[in-house]
Symmetry: C5
């Protein structure tokens, strides 16, 4: 039943997941630091929202301008300024000017195909990550870039889409009783990273479930779509790996960070996050190994089926071809064929044929083909 | 006979071992350090038991409360407090409060899918490991998480199941004449680790035995279940590898530990344990290599069998198809066919046919197909 | 339609891309530092051009002699001297003499098959790179060597071809308002490197597009040219990898450079460039993985097709061979064959045959061959 | 002829080499340092023998007790005490007591499945190695563990079997004119190690010879046992690799040894030995690569043979099936078949058939199937 | 045409290249430093020749004795003493005595199967290398060992064969105007190393050319010898890799050398040589990758051909088997078969048959089998 459900998704009819092959190059020769948005436009209109808090204070704002947001840059409270929709270059430029962000950092934020990375500047750090979402309908992983700029009293976050993937963190802030309100922007950055890594586990959970079904299906009833599906999940795992592998470096870079931006208290949490990242990576690798194993199983299942088909043909052909020959002999029209005159000739021939058949059946049984 | 025994376990009829694909993600956005039990509940009711000893003293207790256990935290004797059944979050929380354990450490103890790891805190170390059991009936490896918290005078151990996997260590403590009673909790931790690594050898022994049978079976009588079995053991070895690989880091971390928790005397023993871990890992890798070799052998055996089947069909068809044609010729009803009138026509035709057959047999023998 | 376009390029009819196998050895025993041009001559006539600039000044010159160029070596302005066409050894020798370049460096500049590398000399650094161009007609990557000699106030660039691949940089210099005019030759070298790495993204974009088509084609209608195409792109990716892999070392070498040649400001940009190089490399590796996956898919598609063909043969042969035998039986000319006399004999035989056919169809349907 | 010799060893009839899968676990929960003999008992009765020498002195003794042997521990001469047969735990225990050897070291000596290793204790070093012997009859590698305990004035060696594998070293000592009598126990240990590494070259020589035969056989006359043989040597190379890989670490450990146990003079020799070990390892890896190549060749040879068989069947069937059909046509009993009445009908049909055959032969020749 | 040339070399008829499997072990238990010549004797008679030079002086000598050669050891001029033919142990011994070379170094020089290595002694360095020659007739790589002993004022070179592979260096010395006469023995050693590495490029060039032909041949007309040839070049590349891989370490060892033997001037040249070695290694690896690709192509080409053969058989058999059945039906001798009496029966049957054939052809065309 569950297997059926999987099979209902006819991957051949779905649009192929071509994102793995999509590389978008910027125009050759543009000066570095030129701000261009690379990627699809995923949000209607860029929205700047703000959460400003400390242990006692909690205020929020939406639809701010960059100038309004900048006010909170130097306040001793923690200011989390989030931009949803990064396709508007002027807004990014304003952020750059007001918050003193290096043009190269801005270029990376705008390039939605950037590799996850951590780069430390004098008074802020840039973290680029991939938020991954598993689209159940197409069974593909949707990648979306999230960039964080971590300063002494503020955290800027840049998202491609409008949806609030960090809603849970916002609620925790609002509730106000947790650890998060007592700490600085470094802990907030950690909380966002943690949310993202948690979402990777969800993708692994989803893919793992599919692989169980795929394996069952493979052992029960392999068909021609099975390999297409194996190929499909292989590609998805490859693109998951592409997001996770550099993330490891990012978090280990934060751990080794010697600047004052990351407090020692937060280090313990980052260490824990690092463990989770390793676990995601290990699981991806194990899944990839196992998917390769499934492919071998499939190839062998196909070859077994072929063998079985050939066996049937061989047995039928091997039995009837000689019999047909015998019948052919006595269908000849020679004038002098003594056997034809015998009274029991016909029955004798039946006897000979039955002996042939029995002999062959015994031979095949000995060969273990029956 | 022995081979038969293996074949009696029809792996296709067993439930597939899906644990390798099972990833359980926590809910997105929960604050880190939130205590949730991840995994199945394997014990009826959590039981706290205690062994308190030094060179002369030896006392035990069962069914204690956390408060009763906490009394032994600061005593100069070695206190080993064991919790069987970790699904009750309140008990874990109490341990956290009473023994001053970091919420992240508690979270890891509760997450039964955690990767083996060592984490050092200010006045205790957290060790997470996998206890592996080989279930002979399903031929699968059962994984169970064991967490140790090693403090200056105490050792906390957390197990998922009720069974006492550390019974042997308890007996050695009771006997009282060995090295174990003269040393601190670090040696006790080592003794528990040693028990776990020893159990890995038992799993390798069990899998090795099966692989011998599988190889024999493969060379004598390969069939369609063989590859399923190869695939099965490949997955088991993969999950064994997943437990052993990080264990190496754990023990080497303990060896490099500079805190006062691990005495120099114990280091020698840990070094020995490290050697054993490497040996387990090497053997797992060698088994994996060999299982890959078995798969190649299987594919080739199948292809050989196919060749043999084809050979039989080819020989029979190649011999009889021309003969049938000859018979067909003289079955034609043309009014003027001179051969039909000949007296010896029928026998001449038999002669021609026998010459054909002999010629072909010679040809096939030259081709080494016979 | 798009697929058709791909298929119109019949790779079998194109000249094979043999460059991957082309190694050109110099004559054995020539003293090291002997200047020989290794490779094809790609430019008509070597042309030396100059751009001399600082924040306020901007002058250019073409068709200079080496002596004329040398004048600019020690001027405090930044002098970019470019040589297009490196096959004329005397010009290279003059450069060596006038700019004090080590004979080994000159030899490397002339050897167009050199591996990308960075070598630091006392007062200049030599950077060797590959400019790659994707030839859409032959679907191959054309490799061209670019060498840079970075001195305190000058940058020499050596190109194999006449075309100005660095035209965009030249325009940026001319426009004069950007960062580039305010910085030294190290930033200019970075700008050239950046142009080259950007062009790698274009190649990846082009190959990625082709791989999408190839995958679609593979799933819809695989034929014998498909594998040749897979093999083709595999080789192209291999030669791309060959250019990118050592580039990583080159840029990381520049980053670690402790000489005064690279200013700290430029380091930030080089760091960004390094990220891009890693991303190119990662993408090449992912493409290679995926192309391997495509090959597996192809092999399996072929084997599936084979199975289908065999199935048809088996079903037809298995049904008709026994029927033909039955017909053969009643074609025998025995004098006494009771069935032949029966009135309904002929129809009875039809009945028997129909039962046979139906039985077999049911059997095949059960086997899921129909 | 030589090939025949190889084929006479029917590996399928030999007992399978199962040692690669044999893991012997000790009982769970035994305290570490518990002395148990793991492995087969290979010697009748443990025999302790002694060689005591310096530049001028040379005395030997056999069948000593441990107490008698211990006398030589502190003498300034070099005392080499050898125990053949390690299954008697009490003797090992006595060695432990008298020579002050750590219980863990004793446990390792007794565990004949231990991984080669070097462990340094305060005043002695433990070296565990594998002596390998190639059994020509079964074509398998026999592994035997040799343990050395190197002290300031003595060298203890522990062997599993009675045979004196170190006979050559003993003779060199007796001859007395060489370097060996002038140096300490470290050089003696080196000499024993050297003997063992030399024996690895002999195994490589033997396997190399077999692989030559296997390759010849494969190219001339591959059959179903060939892959079994390839699989066999693959496993042997795997077990050789398992012994050699850690040996590298052992010798590099001795080279880095900073204790006074290894003199500088001996270091030069150890360096040489290290080179040999690397060479053995490289050769094992190259053999493994080549054996994989042989396997590919075999698979392809099999598939070529299959193709050839299919070709013959195709040609015969394709030629005769249409001919038989034609004959069938004119075997029909329709009352009105005009051709049957023609005088030349029969011969015309022969003509048609010959045209068919010739046409097909031309077609097949064009297809290069003939 | 060119392809033909390749095919004329029938590798199956050539003696197999067995050197890859040839390991020659020395007798077990010989004391280390025992001088034995391992390998074939390749020269008639050992010949010692001398070149003694400095900037102004240049003198040569041939057929010297070791004593005569030794005179030049301490002269301030550079003395290059070359021994061609190393099978005479007494000469090597004399070199050892007169030049103070360690017995282990001598042993390595005599062991022509030694791995390339660099070993530094107190006042000289030993360099062991492989001179490789590509034998065009057998298409195999011939390996020959060259050992260099680099002292403060002298360079000893030991070659297996008589031919002067270093003739070009000798000529450069004679010409006297180059850098080589102005520098010490370290530069001479570099010049010899450079000659050897240059010769590797020639081998790559030769193999590259063959691989181009092999690829063309594979795409046009693959046959059964193609895989044998792929296997052949795979083995040659493996043995090339075996020589190049340790060479990297040798040259990087010379670069890190801190003794006074290597002057700083020479370091620049060694650095360049190191680059070349890396390039050789990279190319070998790329060739190996591509050869693997060729093998996949071959397997697929074979499988495609198989498919085509099967298709023809299927089509012919599928068309004629039913037709033959129909003819068989009307060849039956039932007394009452109404169709036989019909006037148009015969032609009706032809009609039925033609309908069958057309139907099947349409079906096959739809399936894209035609």
């Amino acid at each position: 039943m569950k297997v059926k459900r999987l099979l209902n998704i006819d991957l051949l009819k779905l649009p192929l997941n071509k994102t793995i092959f999509k590389v978008k190059a910027k125009e050759v020769g543009l000066p570095p630091g030129t701000l261009i948005h690379v990627g699809e436009r995923k949000a209607e209109k860029p929205v700047i929202s703000l959460v400003n808090y400390d242990q006692s204070l909690f205020e929020t704002g939406t639809d701010l301008t960059v100038e309004e947001a900048m006010v909170f840059k130097e306040t001793p409270t923690v200011s989390w300024i989030n931009l949803s929709g990064i396709h508007d270059i002027t807004i990014i430029e304003q952020f750059g000017l007001n918050f003193g962000i290096h043009p190269l950092a801005l270029e990376d934020i705008l390039n939605t195909q950037h590799r996850p990375k951590l780069e430390e500047f004098d008074d802020y750090s840039l973290i680029i990550l991939k938020q991954l979402l598993f689209d159940d309908k197409t069974q593909t992983i949707q990648t979306e870039q999230v960039s964080l700029v971590l300063g002494p009293h503020y955290l800027l976050s840049f998202q491609e889409i409008e949806e609030d993937v960090f809603g849970a963190v916002r609620s925790r802030l609002k509730r106000g009783n947790g650890r998060i309100r007592q700490r600085g922007p470094d802990y907030l950055a950690y909380a966002l990273l943690d949310t993202i890594v948690d979402s990777y586990f969800h993708i692994l959970e989803a893919i793992g479930d599919k692989l169980v079904l795929l394996e069952e299906n493979l052992l029960r009833n392999p068909d021609q779509t099975t390999l297409t599906q194996i190929h499909h999940y292989k590609k998805e795992l490859l693109s998951l790996r592409k997001a996770v592998w550099p993330l490891r470096e990012v978090i280990s870079g934060l751990l080794k960070n010697e600047s004052a931006l990351i407090s020692e208290d937060t280090q313990v949490f980052l260490h824990d996050l690092y463990d989770h990242t390793i676990q995601v990576f290990d699981t991806v690798e194990m899944f990839r190994d196992t998917v390769s194993g499934l492919q071998d199983l499939y190839m062998s299942a196909m070859s077994n089926r072929m063998n079985e088909i050939m066996k049937v043909l061989t047995i039928i052909a091997s039995i009837f071809i000689p019999l047909t020959f015998i019948a052919g002999i006595y269908g000849m029209n020679f004038e002098y064929m003594p056997e034809l005159k015998w009274d029991a000739g016909y029955f004798a021939i039946w006897g000979v044929m039955i002996v042939c058949v029995v002999g062959m059946l015994i031979y095949f049984r000995n060969k273990k083909w029956l």
